[in-house]
Point group: C2
Chain length 323, copies 2
């Protein structure tokens, strides 16, 4: 026996969201050999959910199993705890309380199962297969319905003493600022830089500027996509929505940089479709708030991973972390 | 040969400050076997400074050297870079530019030399010998003339990609707030929670409240010590100075907790003499700004190390880090 042929090892990556759960078989090169999905919300009992996963994934394993070895399962899920393998009090999932998810998975599939929250998984995926390949210090910020984050320092994810580190979306960027619709906190990054926050900003700004194109849309059509459309057409109010959002984001990023001094910050999620409308002011205000020793050093870039696959790749990366 | 007798290994710990440089020989139990100091500002050439260190330290080594083995030298200094062993552009030290300090020390003393900034060294000292013994995730905040920090995550110091991580004193707690006297940034933690910041707050508040005891002191006697004296005597304005400072500190700490989820935050430095006048509002505002999953979990405590020795112990801990 000598070297192990890494190309023959595979991992299952599973991304559990409130509505859908996506899964795939991934090899060491970050290729998804087979994939599928089930509806999370169809299963009120976690045991039924795991049974459904098994029924759907087993045929995929059998299909690719010649010459391959299944090393384990990686799961990204809201409120998943890396240390305990549990999903704890997740507000958007059907299973209440503290669910021993990793243990149940291991019993069913017969291989080890590791878990972490979805943003941490995405950061691992970027390090193994995406824009952060070869980087040992970077921060991943997901700008979607909410704002999530995963922090890599010295080549490792920062989990904190309890597995819950990296809730950067909930750091306060404006004390006494906008009240968060769910947490009740005032002035958090998520209140401004999430898709939800951008829609709030846009509704506020369009009321102040009756000439804005944004006023041509009904209330419920105001979202980061329609604001982007108006910005592309040159609407100053829409452009200002992203400038304001970028400023808040940039100020927060400066604080993050002075914490862990990453070589890059990766942005990910639906909101980044705004492109330079968001990126330029974010970069400007990040640089402006940094100590001189940190300036012009930190790359601020968009993720390279295909959004549909990133979550699966990231979850599978948990299996090979530190190996 | 079997086990190594750890009690016979020693390290040199050196703490370089703008005025004085303190050094000591330290064993694995955190006992300082011998110590001394020289004036940093007496040496315009770094080579002369290192020669003076050697002349002063060599006799101490000879004195304790029976049955001991010198493992190395650890140095805490402003703007010291862990990765390169250099001191870079330190505004308060006599040597300009980028000084290859570790290399020069190694050539002179014939043992390895490791360096980091003073606050990082203090954090290592707390982990090896102080209030953070046995902890793998904590943040050390030094509240002195400035505000420094050292972050331990998963048992390791966070250095960042360039060795400069952990500048938490320069994170912004109030965008557009008080202008920093040196960096020019607006609303940084250091502008409020350092001894310098507290004196500024006290001068502002006493002008607003002519009845305050603080008005019995000349302008240049207003500092965190005199504010503490007035607070002890029940002066409401002095108490409000610490409450305001504690609020800003607590808001900043909440953001730090949501970054790395530490089990404790250790406060260190002259300002902590204010005791509960500072600690209680800091704790209140930290808890208030945390997501529920972090609440009532993080210990907020004062350092246990003797301040005069802590810097030496911390620097010496660099030698044995990760061993």
């Amino acid at each position: 026996m000598s070297l192990i042929d890494l190309s023959k090892q595979i991992a299952i990556g599973i991304d559990i969201g409130g509505t859908n759960t996506k899964f795939g078989l991934v090899n060491h090169r970050g290729e998804i050999l087979a994939k599928g999905s089930i509806k999370t919300e169809d299963y009120n009992q976690v045991e039924d959910f795991i049974e459904a996963l098994y029924v759907n994934i087993k045929p995929l394993i059998d299909e690719v199993s010649q010459n391959t070895r299944l090393d384990g399962i990686g799961v990204g899920a809201p409120n998943a705890n890396y240390f305990t393998g549990t999903i704890e009090l997740a507000p958007n999932l059907p299973w209440k309380g503290v669910v021993p998810f990793a243990e149940l998975m291991k019993a069913k599939f017969g291989v080890p199962c590791k878990m972490t929250n979805d943003a941490n998984a995405a950061a691992l995926g970027e390090m193994m297969f995406g824009a952060a390949r070869g980087m040992k210090d970077f921060i991943m910020i997901t700008l979607g319905t909410g704002v999530g984050s995963g922090i890599i320092s010295g080549g490792n994810l920062i989990y904190g003493h309890d597995g819950f580190a990296g809730e950067l979306g909930h750091t306060i960027v404006k004390p006494g600022g906008r009240k968060h619709w769910s947490t009740g906190s005032e002035g958090s990054l998520e209140a401004y830089a999430s898709a939800t926050g951008i829609a709030i900003t846009a509704k506020k700004f369009r009321a102040e500027f009756p000439d804005s194109m944004l006023n041509q849309y009904p209330e419920d059509a105001i979202n980061s996509k329609t604001v982007h459309e108006c910005a592309e057409k040159g609407d100053p109010t829409a452009i200002e929505v992203f400038r304001y959002t970028g400023q808040k984001l940039g100020e927060a990023l400066a604080n993050f940089v002075m914490f862990s001094s990453p070589q890059a910050i990766l942005l990910f999620g639906g909101v980044i479709k705004a492109g330079d409308f968001l990126l330029k002011p974010a970069k400007l205000h990040m640089e402006r708030n940094l100590l001189p020793i940190f300036r012009s050093k930190v790359k601020l870039v968009f993720s390279e991973l295909d959004e549909a696959d990133a979550a699966i790749l990231g979850a599978s990366a948990l299996v090979w972390e530190n190996k």
